[in-house]
């Protein structure tokens, strides 16, 4: 059933799609970055996102820190957590087959989920409200929360910063070298461990920013809150071409828009919204196995 849609309803849905898609994009960038450099799908990414939400919740609601202090602490703590996870769970497996790393990542994901359940209880906590960001502005029948505009701006800003880091800085050059050829990079005197740690720190920092914006828009914090966004953003990263930062943003936006527009045009199918993500994934992989912006993989013999 297609509802005879007015222009304002359609525009409203586009705004909904833009803010949801940009959130996906933000988290997908972190996913794709770690993959691009290490060829590792960091399944714990969604749970790092969840931990960031708890850091922010504790900062504001329990320790009563001002929001800007909390945000900085949250991002720093999450970066530390990401680098720490790499140090404990991935570095010892550096020489092991990629499958071991992948399984280690799944293990870290379960560990974080259960740790959070144990430490913070399984009950949802209310994330503090940011009226400046959430009080809607009404423009001719449209309702726009400032946060819905801030999210895409932040996402594009961080994408630009990240591209700058990767393409223009020394660390970025080292990252690219590691991603092209790990062993040669090592021979060239690149400090592999530092490069990989900073990759994880940056990726986790992006997850933290994503978590902060996510919680402003959807203000509840739960130990399992990272599972679905983690999965969706992984899909977004794959759609865009995993390993490619611009691809992750594109994938996130495609996913966000298609979810919302499916709800808009086929209201009776809204329960299958999560399935849409997977259907899009399958279709795109059938025609573009490397994703939309992904590079062709050349197997070296």
């Amino acid at each position: 059933m297609v509802v005879g849609m007015t222009l304002s309803t359609f525009l409203q849905q586009l705004i909904n799609g833009l803010s949801l898609g940009s959130l996906y994009a933000l988290i997908a960038i972190g996913y794709t970055m770690v993959y691009g450099i290490l060829k590792l799908i960091n399944f714990a990414h969604g749970d790092i996102f969840m931990m960031a939400a708890y850091f922010a919740y504790f900062g504001i609601s329990v320790f009563f820190l001002p929001w800007y202090v909390t945000f900085i602490i949250t991002i720093l703590l999450t970066m530390l957590l990401g680098a720490g996870i790499e140090r404990m769970a991935y570095r010892p497996l550096r020489e092991a087959p990629k499958t071991s790393l992948l399984i280690s990542a799944i293990g870290v994901s379960f560990l974080l989920e259960n740790l959070a359940t144990y430490l913070f209880s399984g009950k949802p906590q209310a994330f503090p409200e940011f009226p400046v960001m959430t009080t809607p502005i009404f423009v001719g029948g449209l309702s726009i929360q400032p946060v819905s505009i801030v999210i895409p701006i932040v996402a594009f800003f961080l994408m630009t910063v990240l591209l700058f880091i990767i393409n223009k800085t020394k660390v970025g050059m080292a990252m690219r070298a590691v991603s092209v050829d790990y062993d040669t990079a090592k021979l060239m005197g690149i400090k592999i461990d530092n490069v990989i740690s900073s990759t994880f720190a940056i990726g986790s920092g992006l997850a933290a920013v994503g978590a902060l914006l996510w919680c402003m828009k959807y203000p509840s914090v739960l130990p399992l809150m990272g599972v679905v966004p983690g999965l969706k953003c992984f899909i977004a990263a794959v759609i865009g071409g995993i390993g490619n930062v611009k691809g992750a943003v594109l994938g996130g936006l495609i996913l966000g828009f298609s979810e919302v527009l499916m709800v808009a045009f086929f209201p009776s199918l809204t329960g299958y919204r999560d399935a849409v993500a997977f259907i899009i994934l399958i279709i795109i992989l059938l025609f573009l196995p490397n994703g939309i912006l992904g590079k062709k993989q050349v197997e070296k013999v």
Binding site: T9, E129, Y218, S220
Partner: protein, 388 residues
């Protein structure tokens, strides 16, 4: 150094595993103890509901720790708000812990997931606040102490039609949750009958458990301009849904069912859930029975800081007390004897009202409490009695 560390870790692992085993094997075959399983979601999306029911069971257990001269031991199993886990948790209670009866679970879907297991193992179970008819239907071993969704749907349809004067209703349901889908359907049936208008439901939106973004559904609903939105579902999702509805400029009343009455509904929803109306089982300011007054007094003694008593806690209390009554009458802790005694429960005075178990294993209840969120508290609005 590295080797000794890994050795240490291995040792710790073995130690915890054996500790786990020894803990479980000691207390079986102890005839001085009657084991009662409490089967609740204590983690995951429904954790708050499970905890509230558990508190009621534990309060009753503290007040009445013995039956037939034996100590009653509560064995708590977490079903993790997950249907697959629920089956495992129920099986573990029966096979490993050898419980005589089971109380729970919060959430019809979770209770239904355990239905086949209690039935095939012939262990009686009492659902506390699971309102979907399917929980007890065709299952001689599942009983319940609360009212059912056909009744609850009628109560809310009456409220929407008569009190709010609504003509057009939008429905949002949690499509992966049997409780929500069932209640939405009973509401729809009842409302279309009351209004005589087959197209009174102008829009239906579906979402999945755990969803956080409802803007798409709500934008569709806003376009149909309903007089009221009926949105039965889990408390966290519902609170986020109401927040997003208000942010989109939807101003009509939003009403729901018994699952909303948890503290988290208000903490997550904040000012936006003010005015949300729901049907529930119990009003602590006006307990219907003497047992209810005792329950309220004891609850306030135990938790002096709490502002109001959630209805599901009272049902947890009732479930335990009704089970004790059945064990007393059965004169034994044999599961089959307890089942038979439960099936013949008549005029048992519970905190939430007088309970008589009918042929389906359901409590025959014909009145519900309607509450509204006012100044951040669940406040009594009305008592609705419907004679069928």
């Amino acid at each position: 150094m590295k080797k000794s560390l890994s050795l240490l870790l291995c040792l710790a692992l073995v130690a915890t595993m054996t500790a786990g085993c020894s803990g479980s094997s000691t207390s079986s075959d102890n005839s001085d103890v009657i084991k009662v399983g409490v089967f609740e979601p204590l983690t995951g999306a429904n954790a708050s509901g499970g905890e509230l029911e558990l508190e009621g069971v534990q309060l009753a257990n503290q007040l009445h720790p013995e039956v037939l001269g034996k100590k009653v031991e509560l064995v708590v199993a977490d079903n993790k708000s997950d249907k697959a886990e629920a089956t495992t948790a129920a099986a573990r209670l029966i096979e490993k812990d050898k419980v005589s009866a089971i109380l729970g679970s919060w959430g019809s879907s979770l209770s239904m997931a355990a239905g086949d297991i209690v039935k095939s193992n012939k262990i009686p179970a009492i659902a506390l606040s699971a309102t979907n008819p399917q929980v007890t239907l065709g299952n001689d071993y599942y009983f319940r102490v609360c009212f059912l969704d056909p009744f609850q749907g009628t109560v809310m349809a009456n409220y929407a039609y008569k009190t709010l004067g609504a003509k057009k209703v939008a429905i949002v349901q949690e499509v992966s949750n049997d409780y929500s889908v069932g209640l939405a359907k009973f509401f729809t049936d009842s409302f279309t009958k009351l209004s005589g208008d087959a197209s009174a439901i102008v829009s239906t939106g579906n979402y999945n458990t755990g969803d956080q973004d409802f803007n798409g559904i709500l934008t569709n609903i806003k376009a149909t301009n309903p007089d009221v939105i009926f949105a039965p579902g889990n408390y966290t999702e519902s609170a986020l849904l109401i927040k997003q509805a208000r942010a989109l400029g939807i101003t009509c009343p939003i009403i729901g069912g018994d699952t909303w009455e948890t503290n988290e509904f208000i903490t997550v929803g904040g000012a936006d859930v003010e005015g949300a109306v729901m049907s529930t089982f119990f009003d602590d300011t006006n307990p219907p029975t003497e047992a209810g007054k005792t329950f309220v007094a004891e609850y306030k003694k135990l938790y002096p800081d709490r502002q109001n008593i959630p209805a599901v806690t009272a049902l947890g209390y009732d479930g335990y007390m009704m089970l004790m009554d059945a064990i007393q009458r059965a004169g034994s802790a044999d599961p089959q004897a307890i089942r038979d005694a439960l099936a013949t429960t008549t005029n048992f005075e519970g905190a939430t009202g007088v309970i008589t178990i009918n042929a389906n294993g359901d409590a025959e209840k014909n009145s519900a409490i309607v509450k509204v969120v006012k100044d951040g508290k669940f406040t009594y609005l009305d008592t609705v009695t419907i004679t069928q």
